[in-house]
């Protein structure tokens, strides 16, 4: 068997104090193959962000093991992350925000690379603008360019398209798939959107909250490339979509901590 690129085995991680602990993840095991696109789907608070931070090496598990390429993950070592809130550096221009994420390159080389990736996300004209001068969607694309510029082998994306309008979102999904076809990377992608999950994923990992667990894994069989035909028109699409939607709905309605508990 090919060794997994990302491997989580029996991972648990909690937050908070001893008196009021939150178990963000409980006994999560997951293997992601090199070049695979895995989408994490689940209601708010099920530990999706926590899982990405563990894989990025930003936090350590309380129990269980996380490895990337067989090693405990080191931040920045072939891995790049797009955060849920853009986390742009307000006092750096768009170009310098991207260049900052390339600590291993020289100044000139980093700027050149930054400009290339800015043009890839359509922000060339705004290279010298500060984040405060950009619209929400532009900020999101800037955050994406910053992660791509590191040319990672592992790309961790936490709801990277959440603040885009419907058209831009679809265009960015296609753009991402094209980029991944040109420069293959392993992708762990978090979303709340069932459609986004079905369009992008090789495999969908459905998670449930309190404590965060993996509820179900679903292989997405649609042929690639998916951008030159309408994947949504495939008969399996409606089936899978309905299944995922119902599972998510049940989770939310049966979760005592949810605002919609018991409304079924």
């Amino acid at each position: 068997m090919i060794p997994a690129h990302v491997l989580l085995s029996g991972v648990s991680r909690g937050f908070g104090t001893a008196k009021a602990p939150t178990l963000a993840l409980s006994q999560v095991s997951l293997a992601v193959a090199r070049g695979e696109v895995v989408v994490l789907l689940g209601p708010s608070g099920c530990g999706k962000t926590t899982l990405l931070r563990l894989v990025a090496g930003l936090i350590r598990p309380d129990a269980g093991g996380v490895t990337v390429d067989g090693q405990p993950p080191q931040p920045g070592d072939g891995t790049a992350m797009v955060f849920q809130s853009f986390r742009l550096i307000p006092w750096k221009t768009a170009r310098d925000n991207v260049a900052f994420a390339l600590p291993r390159l020289g100044r000139a080389e980093a700027r050149e690379r930054a400009e290339h990736y800015l043009s890839l996300v359509g922000l060339s004209r705004f290279a010298k603008s500060w984040p405060a001068q950009l619209s929400g969607g532009m900020r999101q694309r800037l955050a994406l360019a910053r992660a791509l510029a590191a040319e990672p082998t592992l790309l961790l994306m936490d709801e990277p398209f959440a603040s885009l309008d419907a058209q831009s979102r679809e265009l960015m999904q296609i753009e991402l798939m094209r980029l991944m076809a040109a420069r293959p990377a392993t992708v762990l992608f978090v979303t709340h959107s069932v459609d986004e999950a079905l369009i992008l994923a090789d495999r969908i990992v459905l998670m449930s909250p309190r404590p965060g667990r993996i509820a179900e894994e679903i292989a997405v069989p649609f042929p690639r490339p998916r951008w030159n035909h309408d994947t949504r028109a495939l008969p399996d699409y409606a089936l899978l979509r309905r299944h995922l939607w119902e599972r998510l709905r049940d989770m939310v309605l049966n979760d005592p901590a949810s605002d919609f508990h018991g409304r079924g």
Binding site: R53, A56, L58, Q74, P75, G76, D77, T79, A80, M81, F83, S85, R87, I89, P90, W91, K92, F100, A101, L102, P103, R104, G122, F126, S129, W130, P131, A132, Q133, L134, S135, G136, G137, M138, A150, D165, S168
Partner: protein, 267 residues
Amino acid sequence: MARSDTAPGRGRRPPGGAATLTVLRLGFLALLILLWWLASANVPRGIIPSPAATTMAAAQLWSEGRLQTALGQSLAVYGTGLLAAIAVGIPLGALMGAVRIFGRTVDLFVFALAATPRVAFIPLIILLLGLGIEAKAVIVFLGAVMPIILNTYAGVLARDADLIEMARSTGASPVRIAIHIVLPGALPFLVVGLRLGATIGLINTVVAELYTAVTGLGGLLALYGNTFRMAEYFVIVLALAMIGVIVTEGLRLIEARLSRWQTAERP
């Protein structure tokens, strides 16, 4: 893609722009001079010299070279003490913020020292260093360094944990994070600290010149004040005020230049 026009604008320009502000300030200056002139004409016994008498005294002091000498002495004391305070205060405050256990251990003592009137240390400093420029510079340093330490400390403590986590995710070293994320984020605090330090430093320059060997602008202030030469006395007061204005305005310009990202308009 359409740019949203609803994102919060962060402009903080004064209405009417820089030219209007200059005119308003000059107008206010004229008003002050008018009030000064009225006071000088109405307060008895010549306690308040007229603007004209003060100007003449200034020209006299300048042509004798006394003003320049005193200014040079004072600026040497002030500059040495203030630069030393910056060179010590920023790294120390940053270290207190960066190494939590160190900061928690010493901050109490720094607060205590900051609350003690620094004049209290002057006899001790004179005993240790004598009456020369070293003693004076130390008095300036002690006054200026406290607000610089405390504000740098507060600025580093207020760092943005999310931005630091983002930086860590790119593989940035702690030094890179300090230079690109933490220190620029602390800049607004730093500027407040520098401004306070510069002001207190100037006050302490005068105090030092009064309490140790009498030199510089502080020395002239005492001399003319004690001998009721009020026109000369006013010249010295105005010179001190001008140093204060130049230093704080310079700091403000540097701050404005470094925080263009907050005020820039959309292109």
